[in-house]
Protein backbone atom coordinates (compact mmCIF):
# COMPACT_ATOMS: atom_id res chain seq x y z
CA UNK A 1 0.00 0.00 0.00
CA UNK A 2 1.39 3.34 -0.95
CA UNK A 3 1.57 6.09 1.62
CA UNK A 4 -0.82 8.29 -0.22
CA UNK A 5 -3.21 6.12 -2.16
CA UNK A 6 -5.00 9.07 -3.71
CA UNK A 7 -1.81 10.49 -5.11
CA UNK A 8 -0.84 7.13 -6.44
CA UNK A 9 -4.17 6.86 -8.13
CA UNK A 10 -3.87 10.26 -9.68
CA UNK A 11 -0.45 9.41 -10.96
CA UNK A 12 -1.86 6.35 -12.56
CA UNK A 13 -4.61 8.34 -14.22
CA UNK A 14 -2.13 10.92 -15.42
CA UNK A 15 -0.11 8.21 -17.06
CA UNK A 16 -3.22 7.39 -18.99
CA UNK A 17 -2.95 3.77 -18.15
CA UNK A 18 -6.08 1.86 -17.39
CA UNK A 19 -6.07 0.29 -13.93
CA UNK A 20 -4.16 -2.91 -14.06
CA UNK A 21 -6.38 -5.95 -13.92
CA UNK A 22 -4.68 -7.21 -10.78
CA UNK A 23 -4.06 -3.91 -9.07
CA UNK A 24 -5.33 -3.65 -5.52
CA UNK A 25 -8.77 -2.07 -5.24
CA UNK A 26 -8.89 1.58 -4.16
CA UNK A 27 -9.04 2.10 -0.38
CA UNK A 28 -12.71 3.16 -0.53
CA UNK A 29 -13.49 0.03 -2.41
CA UNK A 30 -11.60 -2.06 0.13
CA UNK A 31 -13.63 -0.46 2.90
CA UNK A 32 -16.83 -1.40 1.10
CA UNK A 33 -15.57 -4.94 0.82
CA UNK A 34 -14.76 -5.10 4.52
CA UNK A 35 -18.27 -3.88 5.30
CA UNK A 36 -19.82 -6.45 3.02
CA UNK A 37 -17.77 -9.30 4.41
CA UNK A 38 -18.35 -8.38 8.04
CA UNK A 39 -22.07 -7.81 7.54
CA UNK A 40 -22.54 -11.10 5.79
CA UNK A 41 -20.82 -13.19 8.41
CA UNK A 42 -22.40 -14.23 11.64
CA UNK A 43 -19.15 -15.60 12.97
CA UNK A 44 -16.10 -13.50 13.76
CA UNK A 45 -13.48 -13.57 11.03
CA UNK A 46 -9.73 -13.20 11.34
CA UNK A 47 -7.85 -10.56 9.38
CA UNK A 48 -6.39 -13.34 7.27
CA UNK A 49 -9.75 -14.88 6.53
CA UNK A 50 -11.03 -11.49 5.44
CA UNK A 51 -8.01 -10.73 3.32
CA UNK A 52 -8.28 -14.08 1.62
CA UNK A 53 -11.72 -13.18 0.38
CA UNK A 54 -10.58 -9.82 -0.93
CA UNK A 55 -8.89 -9.28 -4.28
CA UNK A 56 -5.14 -9.66 -4.40
CA UNK A 57 -3.20 -6.70 -3.14
CA UNK A 58 -5.84 -5.63 -0.63
CA UNK A 59 -4.66 -4.65 2.82
CA UNK A 60 -7.35 -5.98 5.10
CA UNK A 61 -5.65 -4.90 8.33
CA UNK A 62 -5.44 -1.31 7.18
CA UNK A 63 -9.00 -1.27 5.80
CA UNK A 64 -10.33 -2.86 9.00
CA UNK A 65 -8.81 -0.04 11.03
CA UNK A 66 -10.57 2.51 8.82
CA UNK A 67 -13.89 0.69 8.98
CA UNK A 68 -13.58 0.17 12.72
CA UNK A 69 -13.11 3.92 13.17
CA UNK A 70 -15.98 4.74 10.82
CA UNK A 71 -18.37 2.56 12.80
CA UNK A 72 -17.48 4.02 16.16
CA UNK A 73 -20.56 5.27 17.98
CA UNK A 74 -22.93 3.86 15.42
CA UNK A 75 -25.83 1.47 15.91
CA UNK A 76 -23.64 -1.36 14.77
CA UNK A 77 -19.99 -1.44 15.76
CA UNK A 78 -16.90 -3.32 14.76
CA UNK A 79 -15.56 -5.34 17.67
CA UNK A 80 -12.71 -7.71 18.20
CA UNK A 81 -13.41 -11.04 19.79
CA UNK A 82 -11.02 -13.91 20.19
CA UNK A 83 -8.57 -12.04 17.97
CA UNK A 84 -11.13 -11.88 15.18
CA UNK A 85 -13.43 -9.23 13.80
CA UNK A 86 -17.18 -9.04 14.04
CA UNK A 87 -20.04 -6.60 13.78
CA UNK A 88 -22.30 -6.35 16.79
CA UNK A 89 -25.13 -4.04 17.73
CA UNK A 90 -24.14 -1.31 20.17
CA UNK A 91 -24.81 -2.59 23.66
CA UNK A 92 -26.65 0.58 24.71
CA UNK A 93 -29.34 -0.27 22.18
CA UNK A 94 -30.12 -3.68 23.60
CA UNK A 95 -33.43 -2.37 24.91
CA UNK A 96 -34.61 -2.09 21.28
CA UNK A 97 -33.77 -5.65 20.51
CA UNK A 98 -35.65 -7.56 23.16
CA UNK A 99 -37.46 -9.42 20.45
CA UNK A 100 -34.23 -10.78 19.12
CA UNK A 101 -33.00 -11.85 22.53
CA UNK A 102 -32.66 -15.57 22.80
CA UNK A 103 -34.22 -17.25 25.74
CA UNK A 104 -31.12 -18.11 27.69
CA UNK A 105 -31.24 -20.68 30.40
CA UNK A 106 -30.21 -19.16 33.67
CA UNK A 107 -27.06 -20.89 34.69
CA UNK A 108 -26.77 -22.30 38.19
CA UNK A 109 -24.31 -20.82 40.62
CA UNK A 110 -22.26 -23.99 40.32
CA UNK A 111 -22.10 -23.56 36.54
CA UNK A 112 -21.15 -19.87 36.57
CA UNK A 113 -18.52 -20.42 39.25
CA UNK A 114 -17.10 -23.44 37.48
CA UNK A 115 -16.92 -21.45 34.25
CA UNK A 116 -15.14 -18.60 36.02
CA UNK A 117 -12.65 -20.97 37.63
CA UNK A 118 -11.91 -22.56 34.27
CA UNK A 119 -11.60 -19.18 32.56
CA UNK A 120 -9.24 -17.69 35.13
CA UNK A 121 -7.23 -20.80 35.96
CA UNK A 122 -7.04 -22.51 32.60
CA UNK A 123 -5.80 -25.06 31.87
CA UNK A 124 -7.32 -26.56 34.99
CA UNK A 125 -8.20 -30.07 36.06
CA UNK A 126 -11.44 -31.16 37.62
CA UNK A 127 -9.69 -31.77 40.94
CA UNK A 128 -8.37 -28.23 40.92
CA UNK A 129 -11.84 -26.84 40.24
CA UNK A 130 -13.12 -28.84 43.16
CA UNK A 131 -10.38 -27.52 45.39
CA UNK A 132 -11.30 -23.96 44.60
CA UNK A 133 -14.97 -24.52 45.22
CA UNK A 134 -14.46 -26.92 48.11
CA UNK A 135 -17.08 -29.21 46.70
CA UNK A 136 -17.39 -31.85 44.02
CA UNK A 137 -18.14 -30.66 40.50
CA UNK A 138 -21.07 -32.55 39.11
CA UNK A 139 -20.77 -34.11 35.70
CA UNK A 140 -23.93 -32.25 34.71
CA UNK A 141 -22.26 -28.90 35.28
CA UNK A 142 -19.28 -29.71 33.10
CA UNK A 143 -21.53 -31.29 30.49
CA UNK A 144 -23.63 -28.15 30.35
CA UNK A 145 -20.59 -25.95 29.80
CA UNK A 146 -19.23 -28.37 27.22
CA UNK A 147 -22.63 -28.37 25.49
CA UNK A 148 -22.63 -24.62 25.31
CA UNK A 149 -19.19 -24.94 23.77
CA UNK A 150 -17.86 -22.44 26.24
CA UNK A 151 -15.29 -24.91 27.48
CA UNK A 152 -13.44 -27.75 25.87
CA UNK A 153 -10.84 -30.28 26.84
CA UNK A 154 -7.29 -29.02 26.88
CA UNK A 155 -4.11 -31.01 27.01
CA UNK A 156 -3.63 -33.64 29.62
CA UNK A 157 -1.62 -32.57 32.60
CA UNK A 158 1.68 -34.39 32.71
CA UNK A 159 1.26 -35.51 36.30
CA UNK A 160 0.43 -38.98 37.61
CA UNK A 161 -2.85 -40.12 36.14
CA UNK A 162 -2.46 -37.58 33.34
CA UNK A 163 -5.73 -35.84 34.17
CA UNK A 164 -7.52 -33.91 31.43
CA UNK A 165 -7.65 -30.16 31.72
CA UNK A 166 -10.38 -27.75 30.73
CA UNK A 167 -9.93 -24.54 28.78
CA UNK A 168 -12.34 -21.97 27.40
CA UNK A 169 -13.25 -21.74 23.72
CA UNK A 170 -13.46 -19.00 21.11
CA UNK A 171 -17.21 -19.18 21.44
CA UNK A 172 -16.82 -18.29 25.10
CA UNK A 173 -14.76 -15.23 24.17
CA UNK A 174 -17.31 -14.35 21.51
CA UNK A 175 -20.23 -14.67 23.87
CA UNK A 176 -18.71 -12.39 26.44
CA UNK A 177 -17.16 -10.06 23.88
CA UNK A 178 -13.58 -10.73 24.96
CA UNK A 179 -10.66 -10.35 22.68
CA UNK A 180 -8.64 -12.90 24.62
CA UNK A 181 -8.50 -14.45 28.07
CA UNK A 182 -6.12 -11.66 28.99
CA UNK A 183 -9.13 -9.37 28.88
CA UNK A 184 -11.10 -11.27 31.49
CA UNK A 185 -12.35 -8.73 34.02
CA UNK A 186 -9.87 -8.19 36.83
CA UNK A 187 -7.50 -10.94 35.76
CA UNK A 188 -4.40 -8.78 36.15
CA UNK A 189 -5.29 -7.88 39.71
CA UNK A 190 -6.08 -11.49 40.59
CA UNK A 191 -2.77 -12.55 39.13
CA UNK A 192 -0.91 -9.98 41.16
CA UNK A 193 -2.67 -10.99 44.35
CA UNK A 194 -1.51 -14.56 43.87
CA UNK A 195 -5.04 -15.88 44.02
CA UNK A 196 -4.63 -17.60 40.67
CA UNK A 197 -1.48 -19.42 41.73
CA UNK A 198 -1.95 -23.10 41.39
CA UNK A 199 -1.46 -23.57 45.10
CA UNK A 200 -3.09 -26.61 46.51
CA UNK A 201 -4.62 -25.97 49.85
CA UNK A 202 -6.80 -28.75 51.07
CA UNK A 203 -9.13 -27.67 53.77
CA UNK A 204 -9.12 -31.14 55.18
CA UNK A 205 -5.73 -32.30 56.31
CA UNK A 206 -6.02 -35.86 55.03
CA UNK A 207 -3.39 -35.35 52.44
CA UNK A 208 0.24 -35.49 53.36
CA UNK A 209 1.91 -32.19 53.15
CA UNK A 210 4.56 -33.84 51.06
CA UNK A 211 1.93 -34.54 48.46
CA UNK A 212 0.82 -31.01 48.51
CA UNK A 213 4.29 -29.67 48.13
CA UNK A 214 5.05 -32.09 45.36
CA UNK A 215 1.96 -31.06 43.51
CA UNK A 216 2.97 -27.49 44.02
CA UNK A 217 6.17 -28.15 42.21
CA UNK A 218 4.51 -29.97 39.37
CA UNK A 219 1.72 -27.59 38.78
CA UNK A 220 3.92 -24.68 39.56
CA UNK A 221 5.12 -21.84 37.42
CA UNK A 222 5.83 -24.07 34.45
CA UNK A 223 2.16 -24.54 33.77
CA UNK A 224 0.98 -21.16 34.80
CA UNK A 225 1.96 -19.13 31.73
CA UNK A 226 -0.59 -21.09 29.72
CA UNK A 227 -3.29 -19.13 31.42
CA UNK A 228 -2.38 -16.03 29.60
CA UNK A 229 -1.63 -17.40 26.21
Amino acid sequence: MSEDPQAAQLAQVADGEPPLPFAAPAPDEQDRMIEAILFASKEPLSTDEIEQRMPKGSDAAEALRRVEAAYQGRGVTVIRVAGKWALRTASDLSFLLREEAQETRKLSRAATETLAIIAYHQPVTRTEIEEVRGVAVSKGTLDLLLDLEWIKLGRRRETPGRPVTFVTTELFLGHFGLESVKDLPGIEELKRSGLLDAKTVAITPQKDDDDILEQDDEDGPGEEPNLFN
Partner: protein, 290 residues
Protein backbone atom coordinates in the same frame (compact mmCIF):
# COMPACT_ATOMS: atom_id res chain seq x y z
CA UNK B 1 -17.30 -13.87 71.59
CA UNK B 2 -19.19 -10.96 73.09
CA UNK B 3 -22.82 -11.48 73.80
CA UNK B 4 -24.13 -9.15 71.18
CA UNK B 5 -22.03 -10.84 68.57
CA UNK B 6 -23.27 -14.17 69.69
CA UNK B 7 -26.88 -13.20 69.30
CA UNK B 8 -26.22 -11.84 65.91
CA UNK B 9 -24.39 -14.97 65.07
CA UNK B 10 -27.18 -17.18 66.23
CA UNK B 11 -29.62 -15.33 64.05
CA UNK B 12 -27.18 -15.76 61.21
CA UNK B 13 -26.74 -19.43 61.85
CA UNK B 14 -30.44 -20.02 61.98
CA UNK B 15 -30.95 -18.34 58.66
CA UNK B 16 -28.14 -20.48 57.31
CA UNK B 17 -29.82 -23.58 58.59
CA UNK B 18 -33.10 -22.82 56.92
CA UNK B 19 -31.20 -22.78 53.68
CA UNK B 20 -28.74 -25.61 54.33
CA UNK B 21 -29.55 -27.24 51.01
CA UNK B 22 -28.70 -24.00 49.27
CA UNK B 23 -25.04 -24.25 50.24
CA UNK B 24 -22.45 -25.44 47.90
CA UNK B 25 -20.42 -27.34 50.43
CA UNK B 26 -18.61 -26.49 53.65
CA UNK B 27 -16.37 -23.89 52.04
CA UNK B 28 -19.47 -22.01 50.95
CA UNK B 29 -20.76 -22.05 54.52
CA UNK B 30 -17.39 -20.89 55.78
CA UNK B 31 -17.30 -18.07 53.27
CA UNK B 32 -20.77 -16.96 54.26
CA UNK B 33 -19.77 -17.03 57.91
CA UNK B 34 -16.55 -15.19 57.22
CA UNK B 35 -18.45 -12.47 55.39
CA UNK B 36 -20.62 -12.16 58.50
CA UNK B 37 -17.50 -11.04 60.38
CA UNK B 38 -17.76 -7.97 58.20
CA UNK B 39 -14.02 -7.60 57.81
CA UNK B 40 -11.75 -7.94 54.88
CA UNK B 41 -11.26 -11.63 54.26
CA UNK B 42 -7.53 -11.14 54.75
CA UNK B 43 -8.20 -10.13 58.33
CA UNK B 44 -10.82 -12.73 59.08
CA UNK B 45 -10.42 -14.47 62.40
CA UNK B 46 -10.01 -18.13 61.64
CA UNK B 47 -10.48 -19.07 65.26
CA UNK B 48 -13.79 -17.27 65.38
CA UNK B 49 -14.71 -18.81 62.04
CA UNK B 50 -13.97 -22.30 63.34
CA UNK B 51 -16.16 -21.68 66.36
CA UNK B 52 -18.98 -20.37 64.21
CA UNK B 53 -18.78 -23.33 61.91
CA UNK B 54 -18.79 -25.80 64.78
CA UNK B 55 -21.81 -24.04 66.22
CA UNK B 56 -23.50 -24.25 62.86
CA UNK B 57 -22.90 -27.99 62.64
CA UNK B 58 -24.00 -28.54 66.27
CA UNK B 59 -27.18 -26.61 65.59
CA UNK B 60 -27.85 -28.60 62.46
CA UNK B 61 -27.50 -31.84 64.40
CA UNK B 62 -29.79 -30.58 67.11
CA UNK B 63 -32.36 -29.94 64.42
CA UNK B 64 -31.64 -33.38 63.03
CA UNK B 65 -30.76 -31.91 59.67
CA UNK B 66 -29.02 -34.26 57.37
CA UNK B 67 -25.54 -32.95 56.80
CA UNK B 68 -23.34 -34.43 54.13
CA UNK B 69 -20.21 -36.17 55.28
CA UNK B 70 -17.90 -33.42 54.02
CA UNK B 71 -19.55 -30.94 56.40
CA UNK B 72 -18.69 -33.24 59.26
CA UNK B 73 -15.16 -33.88 58.05
CA UNK B 74 -14.62 -30.17 57.86
CA UNK B 75 -16.07 -29.76 61.34
CA UNK B 76 -13.61 -32.31 62.69
CA UNK B 77 -10.74 -30.60 60.99
CA UNK B 78 -11.81 -27.18 62.24
CA UNK B 79 -12.14 -28.54 65.78
CA UNK B 80 -8.59 -29.79 65.48
CA UNK B 81 -7.42 -26.51 64.01
CA UNK B 82 -9.16 -24.62 66.80
CA UNK B 83 -7.45 -26.66 69.50
CA UNK B 84 -4.11 -26.18 67.79
CA UNK B 85 -4.64 -22.46 67.49
CA UNK B 86 -5.38 -22.28 71.20
CA UNK B 87 -2.30 -24.25 72.21
CA UNK B 88 0.84 -22.35 73.13
CA UNK B 89 3.21 -22.35 70.17
CA UNK B 90 6.06 -24.08 72.03
CA UNK B 91 4.08 -27.28 72.41
CA UNK B 92 3.87 -27.83 68.75
CA UNK B 93 5.20 -31.19 67.67
CA UNK B 94 8.11 -31.25 65.26
CA UNK B 95 6.41 -32.96 62.38
CA UNK B 96 3.18 -31.04 62.52
CA UNK B 97 2.18 -28.25 60.27
CA UNK B 98 2.12 -24.93 61.91
CA UNK B 99 -1.44 -24.08 62.98
CA UNK B 100 -1.01 -20.56 61.71
CA UNK B 101 0.02 -22.01 58.40
CA UNK B 102 -3.16 -24.10 58.31
CA UNK B 103 -5.23 -21.06 59.18
CA UNK B 104 -3.51 -19.07 56.47
CA UNK B 105 -4.35 -21.73 53.94
CA UNK B 106 -7.97 -21.68 54.91
CA UNK B 107 -8.00 -17.91 54.63
CA UNK B 108 -6.42 -18.19 51.17
CA UNK B 109 -9.05 -20.68 50.10
CA UNK B 110 -11.82 -18.39 51.24
CA UNK B 111 -10.31 -15.44 49.45
CA UNK B 112 -9.86 -17.44 46.31
CA UNK B 113 -13.42 -18.72 46.34
CA UNK B 114 -14.71 -15.22 46.85
CA UNK B 115 -12.48 -13.93 44.04
CA UNK B 116 -13.89 -16.54 41.72
CA UNK B 117 -17.44 -15.65 42.71
CA UNK B 118 -16.77 -12.01 41.96
CA UNK B 119 -15.13 -12.99 38.70
CA UNK B 120 -18.17 -15.05 37.73
CA UNK B 121 -20.41 -12.10 38.54
CA UNK B 122 -18.19 -9.75 36.52
CA UNK B 123 -18.15 -12.16 33.63
CA UNK B 124 -21.89 -12.59 33.55
CA UNK B 125 -22.31 -8.87 34.06
CA UNK B 126 -20.68 -8.24 30.71
CA UNK B 127 -22.67 -7.64 27.58
CA UNK B 128 -23.61 -11.05 26.39
CA UNK B 129 -24.11 -12.03 22.82
CA UNK B 130 -27.75 -12.65 22.08
CA UNK B 131 -28.82 -10.79 25.20
CA UNK B 132 -27.18 -7.39 25.12
CA UNK B 133 -25.43 -7.31 21.81
CA UNK B 134 -26.52 -8.99 18.65
CA UNK B 135 -24.92 -10.52 15.64
CA UNK B 136 -26.39 -10.21 12.19
CA UNK B 137 -29.86 -11.66 12.32
CA UNK B 138 -29.82 -12.58 8.69
CA UNK B 139 -26.29 -13.70 7.99
CA UNK B 140 -25.70 -14.05 4.31
CA UNK B 141 -24.40 -17.43 3.57
CA UNK B 142 -20.95 -17.58 2.26
CA UNK B 143 -20.92 -19.98 -0.58
CA UNK B 144 -17.94 -22.18 -0.31
CA UNK B 145 -16.95 -23.17 -3.76
CA UNK B 146 -14.72 -26.10 -3.63
CA UNK B 147 -12.63 -26.08 -6.69
CA UNK B 148 -10.65 -29.18 -7.21
CA UNK B 149 -7.76 -29.14 -9.56
CA UNK B 150 -7.49 -32.64 -10.77
CA UNK B 151 -3.95 -33.60 -11.28
CA UNK B 152 -3.00 -36.11 -13.91
CA UNK B 153 0.21 -35.99 -15.85
CA UNK B 154 0.96 -37.58 -19.16
CA UNK B 155 3.18 -40.01 -17.32
CA UNK B 156 0.25 -41.03 -15.11
CA UNK B 157 -1.86 -41.50 -18.20
CA UNK B 158 0.69 -43.55 -20.07
CA UNK B 159 1.64 -45.60 -17.04
CA UNK B 160 -1.96 -46.34 -16.43
CA UNK B 161 -2.52 -47.36 -20.02
CA UNK B 162 0.51 -49.60 -19.98
CA UNK B 163 -0.81 -51.26 -16.87
CA UNK B 164 -4.18 -51.97 -18.42
CA UNK B 165 -2.51 -53.19 -21.55
CA UNK B 166 -0.51 -55.68 -19.61
CA UNK B 167 -3.26 -56.85 -17.35
CA UNK B 168 -4.48 -59.63 -19.65
CA UNK B 169 -1.00 -60.95 -20.21
CA UNK B 170 -0.12 -61.62 -16.64
CA UNK B 171 0.84 -65.16 -16.04
CA UNK B 172 2.07 -66.95 -13.02
CA UNK B 173 5.81 -66.61 -13.02
CA UNK B 174 7.58 -69.63 -14.29
CA UNK B 175 10.40 -69.81 -16.69
CA UNK B 176 9.29 -71.57 -19.77
CA UNK B 177 11.63 -74.04 -21.23
CA UNK B 178 12.92 -72.55 -24.38
CA UNK B 179 12.43 -74.41 -27.55
CA UNK B 180 15.81 -75.88 -28.35
CA UNK B 181 17.42 -76.90 -31.57
CA UNK B 182 18.62 -80.41 -30.95
CA UNK B 183 22.23 -81.25 -31.73
CA UNK B 184 21.13 -84.32 -33.70
CA UNK B 185 19.11 -82.07 -35.93
CA UNK B 186 22.10 -79.80 -36.41
CA UNK B 187 24.33 -82.76 -37.15
CA UNK B 188 21.98 -84.14 -39.81
CA UNK B 189 21.63 -80.72 -41.38
CA UNK B 190 25.38 -80.09 -41.35
CA UNK B 191 26.20 -83.49 -42.88
CA UNK B 192 23.74 -82.87 -45.70
CA UNK B 193 25.20 -79.51 -46.65
CA UNK B 194 28.89 -79.84 -45.86
CA UNK B 195 29.75 -81.44 -49.19
CA UNK B 196 28.54 -78.32 -50.92
CA UNK B 197 30.74 -76.07 -48.85
CA UNK B 198 34.16 -75.89 -50.35
CA UNK B 199 34.97 -72.42 -49.03
CA UNK B 200 35.28 -71.18 -45.50
CA UNK B 201 31.75 -70.35 -44.45
CA UNK B 202 30.52 -68.74 -41.27
CA UNK B 203 28.91 -71.08 -38.83
CA UNK B 204 25.73 -68.97 -38.72
CA UNK B 205 25.14 -69.63 -42.41
CA UNK B 206 24.40 -73.23 -41.55
CA UNK B 207 21.47 -72.39 -39.31
CA UNK B 208 18.12 -73.43 -40.66
CA UNK B 209 16.19 -70.48 -42.11
CA UNK B 210 13.39 -70.44 -39.54
CA UNK B 211 15.80 -70.35 -36.59
CA UNK B 212 17.67 -67.34 -37.73
CA UNK B 213 15.36 -64.57 -36.81
CA UNK B 214 13.99 -65.71 -33.56
CA UNK B 215 14.87 -65.73 -29.97
CA UNK B 216 15.96 -69.31 -30.36
CA UNK B 217 18.95 -68.36 -32.43
CA UNK B 218 21.34 -68.99 -29.61
CA UNK B 219 20.11 -72.51 -29.23
CA UNK B 220 20.61 -73.13 -32.95
CA UNK B 221 24.10 -71.63 -32.87
CA UNK B 222 25.09 -73.75 -29.92
CA UNK B 223 23.81 -76.98 -31.45
CA UNK B 224 25.31 -76.25 -34.84
CA UNK B 225 28.64 -75.48 -33.20
CA UNK B 226 28.54 -78.71 -31.23
CA UNK B 227 27.65 -80.60 -34.40
CA UNK B 228 30.56 -78.95 -36.20
CA UNK B 229 32.91 -80.10 -33.48
CA UNK B 230 31.55 -83.61 -33.85
CA UNK B 231 32.10 -83.55 -37.60
CA UNK B 232 35.57 -82.15 -37.11
CA UNK B 233 36.31 -84.96 -34.73
CA UNK B 234 35.13 -87.41 -37.37
CA UNK B 235 37.50 -85.71 -39.76
CA UNK B 236 34.82 -84.48 -42.09
CA UNK B 237 35.27 -80.76 -41.76
CA UNK B 238 37.81 -78.17 -40.79
CA UNK B 239 37.06 -75.31 -38.33
CA UNK B 240 38.71 -71.97 -38.16
CA UNK B 241 38.49 -68.98 -35.85
CA UNK B 242 40.82 -66.08 -36.43
CA UNK B 243 40.42 -64.28 -33.12
CA UNK B 244 38.99 -64.82 -29.72
CA UNK B 245 35.19 -64.57 -29.93
CA UNK B 246 35.55 -63.96 -33.65
CA UNK B 247 33.37 -65.70 -36.22
CA UNK B 248 33.86 -69.40 -36.66
CA UNK B 249 34.30 -70.69 -40.21
CA UNK B 250 33.99 -74.19 -41.48
CA UNK B 251 34.49 -76.05 -44.75
CA UNK B 252 34.60 -79.55 -46.16
CA UNK B 253 37.80 -81.29 -45.04
CA UNK B 254 38.51 -82.61 -48.52
CA UNK B 255 39.26 -79.04 -49.48
CA UNK B 256 42.30 -79.21 -47.18
CA UNK B 257 43.91 -81.88 -49.42
CA UNK B 258 43.25 -80.04 -52.59
CA UNK B 259 43.97 -76.57 -51.38
CA UNK B 260 46.14 -76.41 -48.32
CA UNK B 261 45.43 -73.58 -46.00
CA UNK B 262 46.85 -70.46 -47.44
CA UNK B 263 45.66 -68.27 -44.78
CA UNK B 264 48.54 -66.66 -43.04
CA UNK B 265 48.93 -64.93 -39.75
CA UNK B 266 46.55 -67.21 -38.02
CA UNK B 267 47.47 -68.01 -34.50
CA UNK B 268 47.88 -71.67 -34.03
CA UNK B 269 46.12 -71.43 -30.74
CA UNK B 270 42.90 -70.31 -32.27
CA UNK B 271 42.90 -72.47 -35.33
CA UNK B 272 41.27 -75.76 -34.79
CA UNK B 273 42.41 -77.94 -37.61
CA UNK B 274 40.57 -81.10 -37.87
CA UNK B 275 42.55 -84.25 -37.91
CA UNK B 276 42.12 -87.90 -37.13
CA UNK B 277 42.99 -87.20 -33.54
CA UNK B 278 40.63 -84.69 -32.03
CA UNK B 279 42.29 -82.05 -29.94
CA UNK B 280 41.61 -81.80 -26.26
CA UNK B 281 40.66 -78.19 -26.64
CA UNK B 282 37.81 -79.06 -28.90
CA UNK B 283 36.56 -81.67 -26.50
CA UNK B 284 36.52 -79.29 -23.66
CA UNK B 285 34.50 -76.83 -25.69
CA UNK B 286 32.14 -79.54 -26.72
CA UNK B 287 31.63 -80.53 -23.14
CA UNK B 288 30.79 -77.02 -22.18
CA UNK B 289 28.35 -76.48 -24.96
CA UNK B 290 26.48 -79.67 -24.39
Amino acid sequence: MPDGDLQEFEAETNSLLIDVDGFEGPLDVLLTLARAQKVDLRQVSILQLAEQYLAFVAEARKLRLELAADYLVTAAWLAYLKSRLLLPVEEKAEDEVDADEMAARLAFQLQRLEAMRKAAAALFGRDQLGRDVFARGLPETVIVEKRIDWKCSLIDLLGSYAKINSKGSYRPLHVERAKAYAMEEALTRLRSVIGETPNWTRLEMFLPQDWRNSQMTRSAIASTFAASLELAREGQISLRQTEVFGPIYLRDVSEDDIAPDLTTGLDAAVVAEAGPQPQRRNLSIKGKVA
